[in-house]
Every structure is written in structure tokens, then in C-alpha cells.
Symmetry: C2
Subunit: 412 residues, 2 copies
């Protein structure tokens, strides 16, 4: 993509109406734009990052046997009354039809999925099933001041697994745990599996926490085992690590994902049962596996950035290469255009700063702000050696590389 | 995908709580499931169709220079008061935060995009821009009884183009017209460009109408020119064709897309102006280009189906091949598994009915209901000739083809 085609402009300074680092950076760099507190538009670069995160998550869910669907956001009041959450769920947005009927705006989808599955599950032969969606969710947050970390409208992957018994559910829980570890590895994000409270559903859940001072959670972290326990379920003092019995450190962290057994709670509410092998009716046992895809975009901005701007991991960067032509001589312009065309022809993902009206300094500063992993510059000087000047966003080292060699890396 | 992995079951009979053909068929075949009036879940096969439709639309929007973003569904009341539509827009769902503030649930996005663009457009050099999204929209429809044709929650592509003058906007209007023609060609859907009222925005708009008795619109259609005029803007009698002056025929049709100039209406409301080349401030001139992606899924079900079930065009079919193994002999089972694996390895999109508990007749009936374009059967009989039996959904002809020849078509 050419920067000249990108309507979304960067700003010289962070926005004044944001408190959080992720929102300041992402807005200044033109990835997102605030509509109102906790409600953001994903601009072209931001949408590309979000799509990449969601495709990584989708790939791992598919590998784990997940089947993708898309559930609605308008949930009938009746469904939420069945679970008692029409009243009990604090952050529920509600709306009314002019023609009768009320809806909740879906913040989670048990109320929809359990009622949907009554048609499809009747025998042990119908189990297990693993169903997920990647979708927009709504929560009436009291203080939506943390940018993408705590928004009123946000994107999320939620998978629900349904089983004939608890053993099978526990087995799949381990499968999902591995999927989550794999997702964070692909995202290039260090996540700490953290034992936490299961809320109303179960004794325990497993959170994937990312260490950050911006976090709302306090966890006791064992670096050696990469494990932690959430402060909410321990006493006052730092506990020993549950694995190595070594000391833990108290740190702030942001929850990026959360998996926990729903057990038979909603199956009981919706009377979702099945005929077992012996012919006896049983309630379906379930697990729930959430992952905040837009929140993870915010987390990456929080923990992977410096005073100059964002630093995207390669796998989720909006583009993998930021190409800059410096100088307005016909020779440089022609070389820049040719290099861009050659990259695109090879399937490279390049953002090309082809704008004539900016100085080299402005272009470099903007490249740092946008945080694309690799910067390639063509100028009179580099062309003397048929080369591009390469610099990784995450390093100060600058090196020349012959254009031909550089392009060969993009050969399919 | 294996049918044994697909949790969503088909029904022997159409659902009783639906009136429209598209909902009856799509629900019976397990593509969608009703949550409440006008609110549907897209089940795995339905989501695949929806994604294919949206990707075709996305491809054409990108070709036309469109830049994709994702705007929120929670729109602050203040934005809708600026245009006067907080009161004037009939079908607006509204919700309140418990912490102050009201929102509209976005049925269209002028109120968001114009306010967003004030930051990005200030000079003629910032124009033109073409911005689109593919996203979930909400409308409080009075009678949501037409399945996906008139839903309360639905999917839509909306592109907005912004120009320095009307001539440039009119030129892009022609570009979009061609994009829409191309989209319908790719979808395999005959759409009739139809002159209609521009509503509050402009004298005229262009609708893309699909002939169907289920349609709510009446149009005067010239078959020779593939053009029509909507009854709403002509008098009582059939007018002549605007192109060839020949006779037109009164038919029922469903609107699948609609493009019209917004002119300066919202630029005026939001004071979205720019400095022209001569330094004078001017209002931005805009166009709006809508396309109902989930509605088009409903239209296809309405117009491409027979008494046995759905008939998907190849480009939007959930899979392009429906593979069936008939008989439970180890030889047939092995051949079916091998053929499925070979197809997948070649990048083929196959749905494999590997279920042991169904009869051949049940499997064939279900294949007709699902409407995948090509059915391939392996049985003792076909294997005697190392062949598969092929039948197109849209034809009664059955032919044998040697497996090797059949597979070669899927070679990448």
C-alpha cells in the first residue's frame, strides 16, 4: 500500500483526551480513532493488525477441531432471564424494539449457544463439539479509560466446548491450553499462564497474563516456570510457585485470555442434555475459552513500543516492510517505484512512502511511529551501490544490501 | 470438512416458524438458525457462504481503490442529533450506558465517518478517498418475517467516497456501477440496474434488483437492455425503457445493493470542508454505495433452489464438492477416505459425508438439500471401474469419471 493512498493521518503529538499508553500510541500513529469513551474505529493499519491477530487465533482454533460460526449481538431478554443474568450481569447494554421485545447486546454468548444447541445435541454420538466465533462484543464498562484494554465495544474470540463427561472436558482443556501457548508464541507475546478464580462457574480458571504496569491484575509470578497465581485467590503474602516451590514476584499484568470449565451450569439452565450410551439422560459438560483480539492489539502497543513509537512483532505488523524513497531525483523515484512493484509482484507486504512533500526526517520519524519491523530506504547514495539501506525497528544497526539479494528473500 | 464433524444438523422438514422461502430452506439445510424474529446465527456452512460473498465484494472494492476500515456499532447520540436522525430515523435501536450517555446501534455510518474524517481531510490534496467496511448493522424492522431479506441484525458492505467536486464524484459513481456489475457476475446472480428514488439525499439512486416474487419492490424491466425503473418514481402505467424506448414489464424484485450520491448533505451537517486549489473553503461532495451481504445470501436461496433444496453458484457454495461414500465395505470406506485426502491435499474444497449410520438415499437427499454444485459418489460399483459417479446439482445427468482424471482437475 502507498502511504499517499492512506487517508488516515498520523499526529505529531499523542491525543490529549487519552490516558492510556496504548490508545495514545495507536491513535497518534493512525491505527485507531476514538469515537467515544471505550469505542474505537479501526483505521486501515489497525484493521490489518486486528485481522492478523484474529487469523492467528482462527488458525489455532481450527487446528484444535474448532468449528466457526457467527452468533448475533441482539440477544432476546428471555434467554438472559433463563440464566438470571438479565439482572445479575452488571455491564449489560440493553435495547428495546419499538414493536415489542427487549434485547441484551451480547457481552458473551452462553445464552445464545446453549439454546441453539438444543436442536443439535441429543445423543452421546453428538459429542464432543467445539464451537467458536470471532466477533464484536459489548460491555457497559464503568471506566473505559484504558484504550483497547477495557473498551465498551471490542473484538473477541470465544470458543465453547461440549462434552459427555468431565474427563473428556478436562482433556480438551489441556488441548486449548496448548493452543493458547501456541497463539502467544506466534504473536510474539510473552504470556504467563496464571491460576485465577473461576468466578461463578468453577473454583479455578487459567488466565494468560502479560506483564505490564498498565495491568489491572496483580499476579505472583515464577520466572523460572513461567507460571503465576492471581492475587485474588491467595492471601496477603507472596506464595511459593505451585510447580517448583521457589519464590514468586508480585507484578502487574493484563489478562489477554481466559479459559475455564463452565461445567454443567448453563446446561442445567437450558436443560441441554443428551442420551448416554446406557440410555440415561445426562447434562452436557462444557468449557469456555475466551481471547480478547482487540485487547491483545492494545497489549502489544503497551509492551512493545519505545519513546519513538510502536514496535510490531513480524506476525501481526500491518506490513512487514516500510519502504522509503529519499530525495526527489527521477532516478530515486524510478528506483523506489520499481522496488515497490517488484516486492508486490513477489507477494511482499510493503507500505511505500511515496509522498513527495515530506522530508527524509519526517518520513523516518513516521516509520518509527508506525513500528513496521523492517525499514528499507532507497536514495542517491544507496543506488550508487545498487543497494537499499535496511534497518530493523527494534535495532539501531543500519546495513546496506544489494537490491537483487534483498528481493530474492521475497521470492515465493 | 467431514459431515461427521459438522454439529449443525439438517431437518427433514422446513421450520414451521418461518414464512419466507429463504429462511425455510437455509434453516432446514442447517446454514442459519433463528434466535428471534429477524435475528439469525450463521452456522458453519452459512458462515462459509457469507464469507465467500463478502470476499468477492471486498476484492472488487479493493480493485476500485477502496480502503477498508471497521467502524463501531455504538454511535453516540450527539452524532445522530447533528444530522437530525436521532429522531427522524424510524428503525433506530437505542441503548443507554448506566454511567451516562446514549447510543444508536449503527444502521448506517455517515454519522461516524463524517466526524472521523474531520481530522483527515483539510485540503484538496486529501481528496478523493474511498472508504469502506464490511460489518454488522442493526435496524428495528417492523415486520422481520422475510428471513435474511429483512433482518433486524444483518451484514452489509458500505463504501463512502469523498470528492473535491461533483464531476469527480460522478466519475467514481460510474466506477462503482461497474464494480457492482462485476460483483453480481462473480456471484452468478442476475441483477438489474434499476433507477430509483434517491430518498432524502438526491433525486435518483441506482438499485441492483434481483427478479423474485419474494421481492418487496415493483420494477419496470426491459429485458433487452437489462435495465429497469422502480415503480416508486413512475406513474401508474408501464413506462418505456429509458435506453431503447421499447416496452417494459412489471415484475417483483429484491434490492441487493444501492448506490447514490450523498452530495453535500452530511458535509454540511458536520462542516466537513477542505481548502481548494484556489485557497477557498468548500464542502466535500460524497457518494454512498451499499451492498447487503447477508441479504444476498437470502436472495440466492430465494432464486436458486428447487423443490429438493438449495442450488449454490460455484463461487459462493460452502464447498465446491460433496463427496459421498455409499456402502460400508472396507474397500469403499478406504477409497472414500483416500479420495477425500487426495482432494484436500490438492487444495480442493470438499464436504465429505463419512457418516456410517445414514443410507445412500438419505445422503443423496441431504446433498440435494445442501446444494453443493457437484456431487461425487464412490461405491462398490464405481470402484469396479476405478471411477467416481459425478452429478451436478443443477442437472439430472450422471456420469462416471476415472478417479485419476477427476483428481487432476484439482491439481494446483
Amino acid at each position: 500500500m502507498r502511504l499517499s493512498e492512506l487517508f488516515a493521518k498520523t499526529e505529531r503529538r499523542p491525543p490529549k483526551n487519552e490516558e492510556s499508553k496504548n490508545a495514545k500510541l495507536l491513535e497518534q500513529a493512525g491505527f485507531i480513532q476514538k469515537l467515544s469513551a471505550g469505542v474505537y474505529t479501526f483505521l486501515p493499519l489497525g484493521l490489518r493488525v486486528l485481522n492478523k491477530i484474529e487469523n492467528i487465533v482462527r488458525g489455532e482454533m481450527n487446528k484444535a477441531g474448532g468449528v466457526e460460526i457467527l452468533m448475533p449481538s441482539l440477544h432476546p431478554k428471555e434467554n438472559w432471564e433463563i440464566t438470571g443474568r438479565w439482572q445479575a450481569f452488571d455491564a449489560l447494554f440493553k435495547t428495546k424494539s419499538n414493536f415489542g421485545g427487549e434485547y441484551a447486546l451480547g457481552p458473551t454468548h452462553e445464552e445464545v449457544l446453549y439454546s441453539l444447541l438444543k436442536k443439535h445435541i441429543s445423543s452421546y454420538r453428538d459429542l464432543p463439539v467445539y464451537i467458536y466465533q470471532i466477533q464484536t462484543k459489548f460491555r457497559d464498562e464503568k471506566r473505559p479509560k484504558a484504550g483497547l484494554l477495557r473498551a465498551r465495544e471490542f473484538r473477541m474470540k470465544d470458543l465453547y466446548s461440549f462434552h459427555a463427561n468431565d474427563e473428556d472436558r478436562d482433556k480438551y482443556y489441556e488441548v486449548m491450553k496448548k493452543s493458547y501457548v501456541e497463539i502467544f508464541k506466534k504473536l510474539g507475546l510473552a504470556a504467563i499462564p496464571t491460576t485465577a478464580s473461576g468466578g461463578t462457574f468453577s473454583e479455578l480458571s487459567l488466565e494468560f497474563q502479560v506483564a505490564s504496569d498498565a495491568g489491572e491484575d496483580t499476579i505472583y509470578f515464577c520466572k523460572k516456570c513461567n507460571l503465576a497465581i492471581n492475587k485474588e485467590i491467595v492471601g496477603l503474602n507472596s506464595p511459593k510457585c505451585s510447580n517448583c516451590a521457589g519464590p514468586t514476584k508480585e507484578i502487574k499484568a493484563i489478562e489477554a485470555g481466559n479459559i475455564f470449565p463452565l461445567k454443567e451450569k448453563y446446561a442445567n439452565d437450558f436443560n441441554l442434555n443428551f442420551k448416554g450410551e446406557a440410555g440415561k439422560e445426562k447434562l452436557v459438560s462444557a468449557g469456555c475459552y475466551g481471547f480478547g483480539t482487540s485487547r491483545v492489539m492494545g497489549i502489544i502497543a503497551e509492551v512493545m513500543s519505545d519513546e519513538k513509537g510502536l514496535i510490531w512483532p513480524n506476525e501481526v505488523a500491518p506490513f512487514t516492510l516500510h519502504l522509503i524513497a529519499v530525495g526527489e531525483s527521477p532516478k530515486v523515484k524510478k528506483a523506489g517505484e520499481k522496488l515497490y512493484a517488484d516486492l508486490i509482484a513477489r507477494g511482499g507486504e510493503a507500505l511505500y512512502d511515496d509522498r513527495a512533500e515530506r522530508t527524509a526526517g519526517e518520513k523516518f520519524a513516521e516509520a518509527d511511529l508506525l513500528g513496521i519491523p523492517l525499514r528499507a530506504v532507497v536514495s542517491e547514495k544507496t543506488l550508487e551501490k545498487d543497494s537499499v539501506e535496511l534497518k530493523e525497528r527494534n535495532s539501531e544497526t543500519i546495513r546496506l544490501e544489494v537490491i537483487k539479494t534483498f528481493l530474492e528473500k521475497y521470492d515465493k
